[in-house]
């Protein structure tokens, strides 16, 4: 699942910083620094995908263990961000399919943390999050990367290895589904 440098965008070709190089050389403090820098992003992708803190933290943990094993293959800070988004999203899709297969969950069983929102705004946003989690996994991945990570369709396509038009069409259909469900 290692991301190849060839597929990186030009702005991702930045040089490897000292921290990344130190972590790749086995420096645990440097790795801890990288972990703290990126844990919010990785956890949030998993959280927005599953809406389950424990599942999201387990998955994020797996991603960082894999990152530790793959540090030598990561060429720059921007490559690291690209790699983390790619691996996290793919793991989310795989894990979701695995859980569905095992019938541990049903789509309607997802519970938003803090199920008693304080304001109508919170309630509306909670509803939007739940609707996102009700989307098919590939649509959900596109929506999370687009609106959480603010990625362009071309970046999402490079990250997930899908054609740009597929990403655009999935995004369009996802938005349409969300609008339809929100109006109901």
């Amino acid at each position: 699942m290692a991301a190849k440098a060839v597929s990186l965008e030009p702005q991702m070709a930045a040089s490897m910083t000292g921290t990344l190089a130190q972590a790749a050389a086995g420096d645990e403090a440097a790795f801890a620094l990288l972990l703290r820098q990126h844990q919010r992003m990785v956890f949030s992708i998993a959280w927005n995908f599953f809406g389950d803190r424990s599942a999201a933290e387990d998955l994020a943990q797996e991603v960082f263990v894999q990152m530790f094993q793959s540090l030598r293959a990561i060429e720059s800070d921007s490559h690291l961000v690209f790699w983390l988004r790619q691996v996290t999203t793919r793991k989310c899709i795989d894990h979701y399919r695995w859980r569905l297969k095992r019938k541990h969950i049903a789509l309607d069983d997802w519970v938003e943390e803090g199920a008693t929102p304080e304001s109508p705004d919170h309630m509306a946003l909670g509803r939007v999050s739940n609707l996102v989690r009700g989307l098919p996994e590939k649509f959900r991945a596109v929506v999370v990367l687009r609106y959480q990570e603010d990625m362009e369709p071309t970046q999402i396509a490079a990250s997930l290895g899908w054609p740009v038009n597929t990403v655009k069409s999935r995004l369009h259909r996802a938005l349409q589904m969300l609008k339809d469900r929100l109006e109901k």
Binding site: F31, Q61, L175, L178, K179
Partner: protein
């Protein structure tokens, strides 16, 4: 950007994991590092391997003991058979001597 997209941006904002998340990950990493650094033969000393080895040795001992007992029983039977043959030969010899004496007396 339309209203729906604005809502999505707000709803899907980043959030923090639990405060002990990084500590848990670092503990896993330390475990991983130890596992990678230990020489391959150290696996034989891992508890799971130790248990498997103990089980294997117990099985070997049981099989060995079974084979040994079978050999012992066969040897015992061979010795008993030899004793019986010797006894039979002795009886036959005694009988022959008696017959021989009777023939000479007549």
């Amino acid at each position: 950007m339309d209203r729906m997209e604005e809502k999505l941006k707000q709803a899907l904002q980043r959030r923090d994991p639990s405060p002990d998340f990084s500590a848990r990950v670092m503990a896993r990493i330390a475990e991983e590092k130890t596992r990678r650094e230990q020489p391959w033969w150290r696996i034989w000393f891992a508890p799971s391997w130790r248990m498997a080895m103990t089980g294997g040795l117990a099985c070997l001992l049981l099989v060995g003991a079974g084979v040994g007992y079978r050999e012992y029983r066969e040897r015992q039977r061979a010795l008993e058979a030899r004793d019986q043959i010797l006894q039979a030969l002795q009886i036959t010899g005694t009988q022959l001597n008696r017959v021989n004496r009777m023939v000479h007396q007549q």
